[in-house]
Symmetry: D2
Subunit: 397 residues, 4 copies
């Protein structure tokens, strides 16, 4: 692990959706790593490429958050153990840490809250965040949205201008869905905001302006963990070999709550939009072919994606690639949330504000960046981390 | 296409295995492109990234070579048309160009030639190459090996030192198999050498020294066109996401002459060696799992590769990826041979000698480079091409 | 081929959709087989199991029909040649036979015809069929629907009773879509009717009564050629090994006109209904999991189906099967149309009337049968063919 | 469960390889079913098709056997629990039953035993079997071989004649490997013998004669649980649709002890032979294409088989099917061992002797039967079970 040259800042991670599968897996994994019950697999910032960058340490992290669900974290962790997401025998040994985090969680913010009493909801969220910071004497707080996919918000003039937006909220107008409202609460309370879920939170100009105004960073959106991860690894191969992709069809089957939400076409819209962008960006054209998401309860947290790619090479010869990806979404997403929290905390220390394009590596639809090629994104990330660390003097000796 | 600022050099491409499937497909495609009967699909150097690099033009290319087979090129092209590698209707329209190339081809060099009369074989090859250069008044000649996979040569002291090697050949000792002997003939006749096939030609120290001594470039080995191409696109994704690859099994089924050669374990050895290197290099460890090559006549030129990758993420969670690649090896390889000839001709113009690490992008087992990550190889290639062009003044206005 | 002991009847096959892909492929294949340009692959009734059954001979067949399209059959055949459905070189050699069939084709029946002037449309179809029979002096005529999938007809009282139906048509009421109207025309003109497409034609009680009244056989519906064929081959394996299927998801990608029609949810309804029945029937329960049909133009006539089956065995252990089927729908369907015509002609010779359950082998949703297990269907077919042949004395010596 | 009309016989199952994965899974599953901790999934004889056949009941079964391994059954069961073959929480609750079975197990028979002291080994096995029968007062004993695959025995004259064989064993000649020696011990002690593993035990004529002489049944060989199960479900589909299979390639990856044994070409020979037979039998020809077995430790008990089938239909059109089977061999095999024991006990009650062709459903290479079509095998099995039950009066009221 890294050995920072400056005193470790006290840092906090506050989760919107803190009892969801991703958040629970993350909290279990964090506690297990701190207790030496789990290795660093899946965490990007534990790679040797980050040695010496002086990222905040995992043992120093304080986790909080809110959720509309009330099932205790330990219980949620046991459910994930039964589902095979979390290995048998771990939850028992970290139950105390889970209970400690659980005790810090506050009530979630519902669609009804933001529709009927947005000003009150915002005030309550700000109070919760301030209480979290104060109670644990935190130098930096990163808020991460890991709640369910939200449909795009209905357009409203206030979305384009930070002053109009703040005025609308003051006037108790229902112009934001939960995730963007949490983003406003975070930024106006001195916390950075990361949208790991597809929502409008990081793409509304008014919220980006708010981040700039408060000198706080933003990152998003929609964690890249499965089919899209593969697309951004594979599409450059076709592009750079001058192989023309004629069709790229993607069929996603998933169970769990996420699968159920995404089987609803309204909710799926944000997700399908963010899934379409990378191919256009990398190939320079949009190949034919559908992208489908279907709910199959039996698959649980294991998402199965089957993609069929037809392409054309020299003399027009037709060829095919197909792949089947069977990944556990929660296990893939959870460590990235920890990575993002550490990296955004680094950016906070360097006084960076607004969207962070260098974090594009983590997202399907990166805010502030048009780079979708996975390898380039990784290079950009490493370069940024080292440069930022050097600039702020956090680089380890 | 590029518009060079200097007069185009007269350049030639001399093929070992000029009547094989790759060479025939390449020659058909070259003629079709020059006649505007085919687009640039599959050719890397036709990408806009190479605009302004001033690569030699396709219409100026003179193609020659040798082969142990005697079936005329037009006939071979018709066979590929029937097999679906070459589209219907093209061969008829470029038959004259094929006949012109065919008339330039000389006798191939057999295992018996190099075993019984190596000195005579070498002399004959040098004479053939000199005649080719003189007849067409060529400024630069690139020799490319696209013959069948050769087993590794039996080790011999002369392989380590250029003077010992030349002395051994003078003494008519059978120390080289056909491809390395052709490399010696090329380099001692002023031609560059590219090994597109797995052979020992570019890895023997004595031959690398020979290239340096004559100020000529070398590139190789084993064109990266299918399963390994995918491995080098996908393995970085696992490495950079800290996902531990537990096993990677690759099953390759292919028909055609190549399939038959590779079903022979002795010949397959070179191929299997070059297929194993990339994962070790990218991941830092060799995952469990076999790599198999089997001959299935019915598949013809369409190689089907099925790979199963099992990996481990956060908290040790097990996941899987499998892919099926159905590519036409000849159609994938042929344009890369043209790319390599152009790029090596560029290097010759810049006076570069010895192995060219910047061409690693094209090879399973790149000579002079330990870079196996596909995206980094592409970046290195573009950077090198631009730098070389700038240095030699071939950059277009 | 079979050697019938009785004089071969003169028989005719009249196709609804005679210029579609299935019909064109069938007509090309029929002419090619008669001219010894193609083997018996794909035709069930050419298997040795049918030796001695005395089915009508292919050379004696007279093909006619109608279509709303006007592209000549030869042209349609050339399109299929380009698409790779029909091998190069065949169409040229049977162009005359195609022209002969083409000359017999009459105008198709449109949705507008049956909505605005159903009585006139029926009268015209009957006249066409009678003219076809008379012109060629045919003993038996089989009408087969190979037109596009039709949405289910809107329910109407007349569908339940043959007399009400005939009265409604007399009164020029628009109670039938094209396929059922053709069925009425066929049955009232002395021809048998086969529904190879999903439509309501063979499932309306009134039409089944009409067949009984006229002593004519019916068969249908929806030819079983791809994913469903596999389902009915595989599902019995799970059932008989007591392996509980937890989910069965099927993703179908197809190009061509059929793909376009089925991308329309209204038209797809009939198809999706017929695709769901077999699993329920074989397993005794409906497993979870979607069935999707998507249009991917690039795939042309090659339908790609990917199915993921999750199942549970001893002690609840979870397992998986996935398959990818890449079949040419037209090539799979075309020979079955010839098979059905021959078998229905056999039934006509035996005086069988109404739905023929023994032909369930050919259909996704077999009229008159609840048997969906493929192997049992085949056994039933062979048994029926032999019994029927014996009863009618058509058995060869 | 069935309610036999006659008093249940006391019956025993004696396992060669009683501590192996299949045997352990079977014993765990048996105990779990008897204790109502597991359902009937995976057991063929629990299907309603066997209602009323009067098979011996599971609660009445006494399990014994031998093994060369000495790890206690409970420990083996815990290993399988960790590997995910047996669900968490079951082993604890049946530990007593496992210990009871464990106490009955005797020393296994090694390759060295049968090579150096065959007569003594045979005598010891007979004594063990007699003791097992006597101790539990058993009416019928079925011996089942679930040990590792054995290479074919070296041919010896004594294999063709029962008297020569018995004489050779009396003379202490090393003419049999362990499994056939156990078969001789079983049959000469009044027990039936089933070869669930590929060995020579049930195919040597001398052993078949021995079974006939003692009036005891034999069944074998090589349980059909994965790729071959699918082949015999799918190949009839191709045959009966007149689709010509051009190639069928099968790649099997498996971990565990079985994988290690089969990675050895000598041991794999028996297995590969039994895997090749079904296609020849069903299709009438042997398609091109390899069958490979490779060991991939990480896969554990989950065998992954990938098959690529290329085939030809109407007008020679080429198509493909590929499937990936991910099954747990132990979970698939274990219930079939219980099924076989029950069915062979039924045959013993009916006085049937020699190979039982009606049990072909369970085997890759069925002794006494050339029927490989899965559906027909199932029909034959049901018919036989009912007929046998009726003949012996075991049919339930």
């Amino acid at each position: 692990m890294d050995a920072p040259s400056t005193p470790t800042p006290r840092w906090g991670l506050w989760l919107l959706g803190a009892r969801g599968s991703v958040a629970t897996t993350m909290t279990v994994g964090w506690a297990a790593m701190v207790a030496n019950l789990a290795g660093p697999e899946g965490m990007v910032t534990q790679l040797s490429a980050f040695d010496g960058v002086g990222l905040p340490g995992l043992p120093d992290l304080v986790i909080g958050g809110c959720d509309i669900g009330e099932v205790p974290l330990v219980k949620r962790a046991e459910q994930l153990e039964t589902a095979g997401v979390v290995p048998h025998g771990v939850v028992d040994r970290i139950a105390e840490e889970l209970a400690t985090v659980d005790a810090r969680l506050t009530a979630g913010v519902t669609a009804r809250d933001v529709a009927e009493h947005p000003a009150a909801a915002l005030a309550r969220l700000r109070a919760d965040l301030t209480a979290f910071r104060t109670a644990h004497d935190l130098d930096r707080v990163v808020v991460v949205n890991v709640a369910s996919t939200e449909p795009p918000v209905d357009p409203h003039d206030s979305h384009r201008d930070v002053d109009l937006l703040l005025a609308a909220l003051d006037a108790d107008l229902a112009v934001l869905s939960p995730a963007p409202l949490v983003a406003v609460a975070a930024l106006t309370s001195g916390a950075a905001f990361v949208d790991f879920t597809p929502s409008s939170a990081t793409v509304l100009p008014a919220i980006q302006q708010l981040a700039e105004r408060h000198g706080l960073p933003l990152a998003g959106r929609d964690g890249k963990t499965g089919e899209t991860l593969l697309k951004t690894a594979l599409a450059p191969m076709f592009a750079d070999r001058a192989l023309r992709v004629r069709s790229w069809s993607g069929m996603n089957l998933l169970g769990g709550g996420d699968g159920q939400t995404l089987a609803d076409p309204t909710h799926a819209r944000s997700k399908l939009e963010s899934k379409a962008a990378p191919l256009q960006a990398i190939l320079g054209y949009q190949p034919d072919g559908p992208v489908r998401i279907d709910h199959v309860a039996d698959l649980g947290d294991w998402k199965t994606a089957w993609d069929l790619i037809t392409f054309e090479g020299f003399l027009g010869t037709r060829m095919q690639l197909q792949f089947t990806w069977q990944g556990c979404d929660s296990a893939l997403a959870a460590p990235l949330v920890l990575d993002l929290a550490r990296l955004v905390a680094l950016a906070m220390g360097a006084g960076q504000s607004g969207p962070l394009p260098a974090l594009a590596y983590f997202f399907k639809d990166p805010v502030g960046s048009s780079q979708h090629r996975l390898a380039e994104q990784f290079t950009d990330l490493i370069t940024w981390a080292r440069t930022t660390a050097a600039a702020t003097g956090t680089t380890a000796a």
